[in-house]
């Protein structure tokens, strides 16, 4: 019995393919066939993406920096407890310095002045640097002349610019802004130029073949194609501007004190706890702007282009 069964089914199987072939043959049948082929191939070849739970992602993202902060605090506390350096204040003393500055109402204005200057300076730098960078990619002779100058200024430490600005513009907001602009504009312009240089030529060619030349090409192809590079350029511009601002505030005696002034006050009074408190503030602002502003924007820009898998998560 079982033997004949298998024989029957085998014979059935042998006869089946031609039967199905005649059933699905003909012109309409063959289109259906390739339609199914197409969707089958599409399903097989489409990348499979797995997403972890939100809570786990947040934890995975927050844990390493928190651990790093805890490690630094632990080392610091140990160094203090073992009295490695006579002048080293404890983490608690630095925290007390910050709390004191908060309660006597000097912390918030200092933070506000510095942030406001950096934001205004950054906005102005972007407003100058981005068009300047784009202009350099369009006008070759201008690039030949200005390119090396911008690179040179970019490598100049802000500390070298402050005396120049102070002598030229006095102990004024103008001098501070001049230093911030000179710090940020070259790095933004150079970054924007590099971003445009790195656009795949094929995309520009495709755009031109579709009729996107000139201004339309810039709006629909060039700028969106270079956007990841623009974000990098702006982020670097912010960093350069923030550093330049701290240097400027440290040296320039502006009417409105910023964090840089706090740092200078600590230096002049020989209070390391105040100096370290200022350093902690400067660091905190840097980390905050980075993680709250630039990282999300960059991740979004890269992710939408399928580029974030290496850096994101």
């Amino acid at each position: 019995m079982p033997a004949t069964d298998t024989e029957d089914s085998r014979r059935g199987a042998r006869h089946e393919p031609p039967g199905r072939g005649t059933g699905g043959g003909g012109a309409p049948g063959s289109t259906d066939d390739s339609d199914e082929m197409a969707s089958g191939l599409d399903a097989l070849e489409s990348p499979v993406s797995a997403t972890a739970a939100t809570s786990r992602r947040v934890l995975a993202k927050a844990a390493p920096p928190l651990a790093a902060v805890a490690l630094v605090l632990a080392l610091w506390q140990t160094a203090y407890a073992l009295n490695w350096s006579a002048s080293l204040p404890s983490p608690a003393a630095v925290w007390g310095e910050l709390a004191g500055a908060w309660s006597d109402g000097t912390l918030l204005p200092a933070l506000g002045h510095s942030l406001l200057r950096c934001l205004a300076g950054f906005a102005a730098s972007a407003a100058v640097g981005v068009p300047l960078g784009l202009l350099l990619t369009r006008v070759a002779p201008l690039r030949t002349v200005l390119g090396p100058i911008l690179s040179a200024v970019q490598s100049l430490p802000a500390a070298a610019l402050v005396p120049v600005a102070v002598i030229a513009l006095g102990n004024s907001e103008g001098a501070v802004y001049a230093v911030v602009l000179l710090g940020a504009v070259p790095s933004i312009a150079v970054g924007v130029t590099a971003a445009v240089d790195r656009i795949p030529p094929l995309l520009l060619r495709a755009g031109r073949s579709m009729g996107a030349g000139g201004l339309r090409g810039a709006v629909h192809v060039l700028v969106p194609a270079a956007l990841p590079g623009f974000v990098t350029a702006l982020r670097q511009g912010w960093t350069f501007g923030w550093r330049a601002l701290m240097t400027a505030e440290l040296i320039t005696a502006t009417p409105l004190p910023g964090i840089g002034r706090m740092l200078d006050a600590g230096r002049q009074g020989g209070e390391l706890s105040l100096v370290l408190a200022s350093v902690v503030l400067i660091l905190a602002v840097g980390v905050l702007v980075e993680s709250a502003l630039f990282s999300p924007v960059e991740r979004r820009v890269l992710h939408s282009r399928g580029l974030a898998s290496a850096t994101g998560r």
Binding site: S46, P224, A225
Partner: protein, 272 residues
Amino acid sequence: MSTELATPAPAPSVTGAGAGQARPYAVRLDHVSKSFGSSPGNRQQVLDGIDLTAAAGEFVCLLGASGCGKSTLLNLVAGLDHPTSGEVRVPHGRPALMFQDHALFPWLSAGRNVELALKLAGVPKSERRGRAEELLRLVRLPDAYGKRVHQLSGGMRQRVALARSLAQGSRVLLMDEPFAALDAITRDLLHEELTRVWRERELTVLFVTHNVREAVRLGQRVVLLSSRPGRVAREWDVDIPYPRRIEDSEVTSLAREITGHLHEEIVRHARH
């Protein structure tokens, strides 16, 4: 059908594959030459006296080894470059161009890529969404509208690129080795898709490839270009009825004949 009744003069037959000369042309090149380099010392002639006509609705495959100037030729027809001498005529406006790489814009979804082409072609905003979805259905990607380019497979990307080319509204489609980077199974499928779309939309296709069997499987005419400089070496009318398959014996035997001539062209360079 109505035009047939209305036209008193005997209209040229458009059904036969060999009737190319009688039909109105969609692309015509007369003695087109192209050289690069300004000084006489490093001047390099890429194309030399190309005469080529593609009738409206014709599928022409351009075949050649490296250095035959096929990309340059397509650039000239696309209007992205100008010939050194001779004349390129494309009476129905800017042709659409497709590349080996899909060249889709990665910052836009598949549907938005198609819509941008529609926008640049002057299609009003209210119509774009519907037209884009229709074109994606045409290339059998009805669900791809919101997908990002990186979420699509290679074959799907080329189909979106085809939809985007069609969105430009041109009746002339220039293709620069569009399937060269795909695997054989996907390529086979896209050959079928392309011939279907070509017939449905009555397109004129200029298809550049270095794959002889692909050229024979797709084209009504195969033009063999010689290399350095590019010249028209020989032409074949492919009278094999559609639908064809790449493994058909007629396709294979004509491909073998053409391959022989292609090898002759390549060997000629070894002697020099």
